[in-house]
């Protein structure tokens, strides 16, 4: 299987080179056969990468300890579940996994548009093949996962060997989230290749109109959704596994995942300006370019050791490859832009300052400021070392101070944006739309203040959350009321009906509502409490309204580790409410320890209990308990964000009312009298 996998990867590389070079030939000659053959080469590349990936997974499942990568990341006792995750647990395998996910996207694009957009697709195919060539170069010649295990022999030659068992998987990765978090994050990173390929392709081809925007919107949303899920699952993993009581530590690798998410979010908003008003064409193209470049930069930071991080892979020379690729991307993008910048001439005009357009501009400004602030903070240790010779760390306190105000401004704009009309918003409409949400925000703030929310940022955050939730609810209510009046259906049915009539708009509102829930959860962080105590059997510990009683301690051997478990009874008002089992795991093969946090989670707060260690003086177990308010809202918010994105991806269920004269050129010859336009119903699939 080693040989099979290696051969598949080499062949994939050859096919990708053909798809790239042949694609350029097809663009120049426009020969139909060449166009078809390069497309098929692209499909073959993807299939060969699938085969290579499956063959590596087969090596894991068959415990083939003659393969160096399998030896380093698996062992016989590793459960099936984690043998899947072992694929992306190391540098070589994760790069192959990148190629795999990229191929899933490329394959889907090539199949979906095989008979469509003939002018654009050869360009898109060339860009996608170019990206694939880069990753296949790494897979084949820099970090191959198919290297056989070898030791130097007596004569200096390398002898192939096989081990009886492997080293096992890093304990920190042996958690359910690690089986789903990296694939989601990688699917986000790789997914942004598709909008990049369409944007660059359209620019190179001077593809007329906004069609590339329509074509890529869904791909961008899919990538964005995976990126969001990846970030939130990573945060949940950090919360449930690392045992430090938090979920976001502004680690360079966490920051790296946030950067393309921020620019991707900016693009998903500003793209509406281009679709509806033909504005911001240059900006949108560069947002897509930057998002893709940030994905590559994020990978560079994770894998090169440029910045220190607990998440990073082992330091290697692979960073040079990524820097070179990043430089090529920027040169190609800049060249394409300079050559064809007249193609991006926009119909930029703004009828009023108070309008949806302005709110999108400020939304983009805040997202971009957040992005560059996080980026410069992340890279500051490197810059400080260059300029002063001393590496100055930039940790969570800095990022919190800088990003909390920006986040709150963004939250404010989330509420304001939908209330403003396109082109111009009248004073009357401002009063009508802002009155109730503002009142609700102030009432919510007063209630929060009365309930003890005295920390400034948390209070502002809660006021804004109520304000934004009110604006979104009002939007749903107004629309549903009209449907309800006409159809007589219930309010809930009318809301569903309304959402399905314009999935993009109302799906977007659901995403905003999800973000509100996330912000509510973040507001709770200001009130986190913790306490730590050495505990004897039967002794108690108090945190907030909870009393923890250490009932007993046990040890249970599992297949791959031995768990030492604290059995703790949780009481409230002298009544037992549940048992918690925080534990330490000792992994047999790696001889490393892992933590398993026990969490009692409610909407109000999380009781988070960690078995922190053993006191060297008394030999008693040390229990660290945290009381983290509102954390559950973050995970709920994440689920709502994903739901909203899925809704926005759905096609509209029903026909919408449009002006027949505007849609059917054949009617243009009819004499139309101003003010007497006859509306008719035309089904428009994928209306937005």
């Amino acid at each position: 299987m080693d040989v099979f996998g290696s051969f598949a990867l080499i062949l994939a590389f050859v096919c990708a080179v053909y798809a790239f070079a042949g694609g350029i030939g097809a663009i120049v000659t426009r020969h139909p056969l060449l166009v078809k053959s390069t497309r098929q080469a692209g499909i073959a590349t993807c299939c060969l990468i699938f085969l290579a990936t499956f063959s590596l997974e087969y090596l894991f499942f068959s415990d083939n300890f003659a393969n160096a990568y399998v030896v380093s990341h698996s062992n016989r006792d590793l459960s099936t579940f984690y043998k899947i995750a072992a694929l992306w647990s190391g540098q070589e395998g994760s790069l192959l996994f990148w190629s795999f996910l990229l191929s899933v996207y490329v394959f889907s694009v090539l199949i979906t548009y095989r008979n469509k957009n003939g002018e654009l697709m050869p360009y898109v195919g060339v860009v996608m093949a170019g990206v694939q060539i880069f990753f296949l170069t790494l897979n084949n010649f820099v970090a191959s996962p198919f290297k056989a295990l070898a030791v130097p022999g007596a004569n200096g030659a390398m002898n192939l060997v096989a081990r009886a068992d492997g080293n096992g998987l890093t304990p920190l990765l042996q958690y359910p989230e690690m089986v789903i978090h990296p694939p989601n994050l990688y699917a986000g990173y790789t997914g942004f290749t598709i909008p990049f390929a369409f944007a660059l392709g359209a620019l190179l081809a001077r593809y007329p109109g906004e069609k590339w925007i329509h074509l890529t919107r869904k791909w961008t949303m899919i990538a964005w959704m995976f990126q969001s899920m990846g970030i939130l699952l990573g945060a949940h993993w950090a919360y449930a596994v690392l045992g430090w009581g938090g979920y976001w530590g502004w680690d360079p690798v966490e920051n790296a995942s946030l950067l393309p998410w921020l620019t991707g979010t900016a693009f998903l908003h500003s793209v509406m300006m281009q679709e509806k008003r033909g504005m911001m064409k240059v900006w949108n193209v560069w947002l897509v370019f930057c998002t893709f470049a940030l994905c590559i930069l994020g990978t560079l930071l994770t894998r090169s050791g440029v910045v220190s991080s607990v998440h990073a892979f082992a330091q290697s020379s692979i960073g040079t490859w990524f820097v070179s690729f990043l430089a090529i991307i920027l040169v190609v993008c800049l060249g394409a832009y300079l050559k064809n910048r007249d193609y991006l001439k926009s119909e930029n005009q703004l009828d009023a300052i108070v309008s949806r357009e302005s709110s999108f501009l400020f939304n983009n400004l805040m997202l971009l400021v957040a992005c560059v602030a996080v980026l410069s903070g992340t890279l500051f240790p490197v810059f400080s070392e260059w300029f002063t010779g001393n590496r100055i760390s930039v940790g969570a306190p800095f990022f919190n101070k800088v990003n909390i105000p920006i986040g709150l401004l963004l939250l404010f704009l989330t509420g304001v944006g939908p209330l403003l009309a396109w082109r111009k918003t009248s004073t009357e409409s401002l009063k009508r739309n802002f009155g109730w949400p503002l009142a609700m925000g102030i009432i919510g703030g007063a209630l929060a203040f009365a309930l003890g929310f005295r920390e400034f940022y948390s209070l502002v955050c809660l006021i804004l959350c109520v304000f934004v939730a009110s604006t979104i609810s009002m939007e749903f209510y107004r629309g549903a009321k009209v449907i309800r009046t006409r159809s007589g259906a219930s309010l809930f049915t009318s809301v569903v009906d309304l959402t399905m009539r314009n999935t993009r708009r109302y799906g977007g509102y659901i995403v905003h509502m999800g973000m509100v829930l996330v912000f509510i959860g973040l507001a709770g962080a200001a009130f986190n409490r913790d306490t730590q105590k050495e505990m004897q059997l039967g002794s108690t510990m108090q945190i907030g309204p909870y009393t923890l009683v250490l009932q007993s301690v046990d040890s249970r051997p599992e297949r791959n580790y031995t768990a030492q478990r604290m059995i703790i009874e949780v009481m409230r008002d002298n009544k037992p409410i549940m048992m918690l089992y925080p534990e330490k795991r000792r992994f047999v093969t790696t001889v490393e320890n892992g933590t398993m946090v026990a969490i009692y989670s409610t909407l109000k707060e999380d009781l988070y209990v960690v078995f922190a260690g053993q006191s060297p003086d008394t030999q008693l177990p040390v229990i660290h308990a945290y009381l983290n308010p509102l954390v559950k809202w973050i995970w709920l918010g994440g689920a709502v964000v994903v739901l909203g994105t899925l809704v926005a991806l759905l096609p509209n269920r029903r026909a919408v009312l449009v002006l027949a004269g505007a849609q059917e050129p054949s009617t243009a010859t009819q004499t139309l009298q101003p003010g007497r336009l006859t509306p008719s119903v035309i089904t428009r699939e994928g209306h937005d």
């Binding site: 903070g377 800095f398 030492q564 490393e592 320890n593 053993q614 919408v656 449009v658 002006l659």
Partner: protein, 160 residues
Amino acid sequence: MRRLAASGVLLGIALLLIVPLDAQDLSDRAKQIGGKFMCMCGCSQVLTQCNHVGCTTSSSMLKELNQSLASGGSETAITQMFVQEFGTKVYAEPPKSGFSLVAWTLPSVYLALGTVLVVFVISRWRKHALEPVAGTGNAAAIPQELLERARARAARETED
């Protein structure tokens, strides 16, 4: 039976194969000052938040911090002590002096520059909108094709 259970518990505790950890009882002041330093074990976490499995660095740093505070050490003295021991990498946030000031000023610079740019863009777009269009004032003179395009655009822009 109780003896057996007690033996089991003792055995369980004896089997705890974890790195010993000091149960630090941190004062609020220690927490506040400790929040300004990084744990130097390489976990990239703030000192008071490091609960890294097997981390002996954070416990020894916290012990030093507690001892300094107990002996009346000021925040500046503690900072100097840690910087001397670990270098500038120990800061959780850059100090607001010297080259590090750049890190603090950059976000404000981005915001200021971005705002100026957005205001400039808005004023330019407004100028375009206010420019008079040739031939206005006579609806009958508008070509049919232009009218159709305008209708299509109106439909597109109002559908949301």
